[in-house]
């Protein structure tokens, strides 16, 4: 049995290491953001909120934040109907060539992001859509749509087809059945997918890097450009904004869907 305890200890040790490993960059950013000094160094010099004030006063940061929020909203608004309907179609009906449809809709996962981004530069350029902000939101929908489909599909798979059939038998016309039976049933999946789409778009970097310019720059790209020259504490304060948004999303996911849903066998 001593060997058995060894295994248990090993698992606990790895879990403890993982926790530290996962949390380290986040914790360090939070600590660094409260420094009173002009540089990021350890241990930090004193405590102050000056860098939070600094990011609020810097128009470029505020503008980029608002652009990121806009882009994430556009992305979510397009994904919600498109992803939900596709997930329901894939899961509920026995489609001909179902495998081909699945593979096709997984293209965003199999095409490397850098390739997707360059492909869209070429396409959007030809269509005269570069230099505007909403196409960036569309592009982020394109690359992340499988997350939305995946979120909803996990729920549709548990949807009892008899329920819809029952609704139809009772004379509910298709749209009524959809709105009153199907939609509520997959709502947790829609919430999961929608939240994921929003936060992924809010954080997206590489495809945005290629599609935005100085007039449409979003926050992750602006941060990347700043990191390349100087690592100043104002970026830590900006990162904390991201950490807060992630925390709110985790809280929402937990409240609305339950984090444990993600552990369920599929």
């Amino acid at each position: 049995m001593r060997r058995g305890r060894g295994l248990e200890r090993l698992i606990l040790a790895v879990v403890a290491f993982d926790l530290l490993f996962l949390a380290l960059p986040t914790l360090v950013i939070v600590v660094a953001s409260f420094t009173a000094g002009r540089i990021v160094a350890f241990p930090p010099e004193g405590f102050s909120l000056r860098w939070y004030q600094a990011i609020l006063e810097k128009r470029a940061f505020v503008d980029a934040f608002l652009r990121s929020a806009y882009v994430a909203t556009v992305c979510t608004l397009i994904s919600l109907p498109a992803g939900t309907l596709a997930a329901i179609a894939l899961a509920r009906w026995r489609l001909r060539h179902a495998l081909a449809w699945q593979l096709y809709l997984l293209l965003p996962f199999t095409i490397p992001l850098v390739v997707s981004g360059l492909g869209m530069i070429l396409l959007f350029g030809r269509l005269g859509m570069l230099g505007m902000l909403w196409p960036v939101g569309l592009a982020l929908t394109v690359i992340n749509l499988p997350f939305m489909i995946w979120g909803v599909a996990a729920c549709v798979n548990r949807l009892d087809p008899d329920l819809e059939a029952a609704a139809a038998n009772l004379g509910a016309p298709p749209l009524h059945a959809f709105v009153t039976v199907t939609l509520p049933a997959v709502m947790p999946g829609i919430v999961t997918g929608g939240l994921l789409m929003f936060i992924l778009a809010f954080n997206e970097f590489i495809v945005s890097l290629m599609l935005v310019d100085a007039r449409t720059v979003t926050l992750p790209v602006l941060m990347y450009n700043s990191i390349r020259s100087t690592i100043t504490p104002d970026l830590a304060a900006l990162s904390v904004v991201y950490i807060l948004i992630a925390a709110v999303t985790v809280w929402l996911l937990d409240r609305l869907v339950g984090l444990e849903t993600f552990l369920r066998a599929r």
Partner: protein, 366 residues
């Protein structure tokens, strides 16, 4: 090339001793056109980070804003990254992403040849500039060179108690393994490498085997590959003893109290220029104010403050050099001084530089 890379910032550098405070000498806007143009919400200028951005801000952008009321935003997009974006914007008839591009002369010339740059010939402040300001091999003024700079051999005084290294071959000395640095694409080192590798400068670009041999030997010495702010940072953190870099970056470390110096070794050093240019496709009023910005950057006041902060010789003659660089071997004080340097003609650079970058990349990514 010369893009900026991450570094942990060191304590605030001391004030530049030589750079006189920016005295907002009454600057008269001599407008090329008489009509008053509506002011844009902002002027976007692409810039390099670190000491470069600071110098542009204090020397040009802030005084410009003070004078005109137009805010100036610096876009730190990499110089290479902005180029295809501007080209695409012009090709597709869109408004370009920036108003003014601060660029290497080689890159600027590529854009000029592509026909995406506005002519600056009507700027009043072109008058009286050194011939160096005029772009080579191009009609008119599709760009204007704003200062020159040498890629020097910077060294830590601690590692060279006897004095400056005499030859670029010092970079190959195994004693400095992992303690030498260069630009990540090799920029600035091609000509000295060619000579130090036993070749002739005149053989560039036809026979550069000695140059590549030098890079291969350098690779064996495991150099750090970086961008402008990296060199400052590495000297300050005592990570390197030798670097091929622009004087501004080494000087920044020196002004932070690090015992760093620089030299032009016996093989010579590359001299090059940076330029400003304006992309085509701006609305008329924005083009007008972009031109005013470039015009102001060429004024005596702006040239004095901007170039002194960088430690580089301006294209406007007769200005006061920074006190710490008077008589410096790497700070050409007159036009005659320029001839002491290795100057690869811009047309050659335009044609070959990107394939040299590829070559260095092939050697270094091994």
């Amino acid at each position: 090339m010369r893009r900026t890379a991450p570094y942990l910032r060191l304590p605030r550098r001391r004030f530049l001793s030589g750079a006189a405070a920016v005295v907002a000498a009454p600057y008269v806007l001599r407008l090329p056109r008489a009509t008053a143009q509506e002011k844009p919400a902002e002027i976007i200028v692409r810039a390099w980070g670190g000491v470069w951005e600071e110098a542009l801000k204090t020397g040009v952008s802030d005084p410009f804003t003070e004078m005109t009321g137009i805010p100036v935003r610096h876009d730190l997009t990499e110089d290479n990254e902005i180029r295809p974006k501007i080209w695409a914007a012009v090709d597709q008839g869109r408004v370009p992403p920036i108003h003014v591009n601060w660029d290497t002369t080689t890159n600027a010339t590529k854009s000029a040849l592509r026909g995406v740059t506005e002519d600056l010939g009507d700027l009043p402040n072109l008058e009286g500039l050194l011939p160096l300001a005029k772009p080579a091999g191009l009609e008119g003024w599709p760009l204007v060179n704003v200062y020159s700079y040498a890629y020097v051999l910077a060294y830590s005084e601690k590692a060279f108690p006897e004095g400056a290294p005499e030859s670029w071959n010092a970079m190959l000395d195994p004693a400095f393994r992992k303690r030498v640095a260069m630009y990540d694409d090799g920029i600035g080192l091609f000509a000295p490498a060619q000579v130090a590798g036993g070749g002739r400068f005149e053989d560039i670009p036809d026979n550069m085997e000695p140059c590549w041999e030098f890079f291969r030997k350098l690779k064996a010495n495991e150099p750090l590959l970086g961008e402008d702010p990296d060199f400052t940072n590495w000297f300050q953190n005592d990570e390197i003893d030798l670097a091929c870099t622009i004087i501004s970056n080494a000087r920044e470390a020196k002004q932070n109290g690090i015992a760093v110096s620089w030299t032009v070794p016996k093989e010579g050093a590359t001299l090059d220029t940076d330029a400003l240019w304006i992309p085509k496709g701006l609305p008329e009023n924005e083009l007008y104010w972009a031109k005013q910005y470039v015009n102001f950057a060429l004024s005596a006041e702006a040239q004095q403050a901007w170039c002194n902060a960088l430690g580089l010789p301006p294209v406007r003659p007769g200005l006061e050099p920074p006190a710490d660089l008077v008589g410096d071997i790497a700070y050409p004080a007159s036009e005659a001084d320029l001839d002491r340097f290795l100057r690869i003609p811009t047309p050659v650079l335009v044609e070959h530089e990107s394939s040299w970058f590829e070559r260095v990349n092939e050697i270094m990514q091994g």
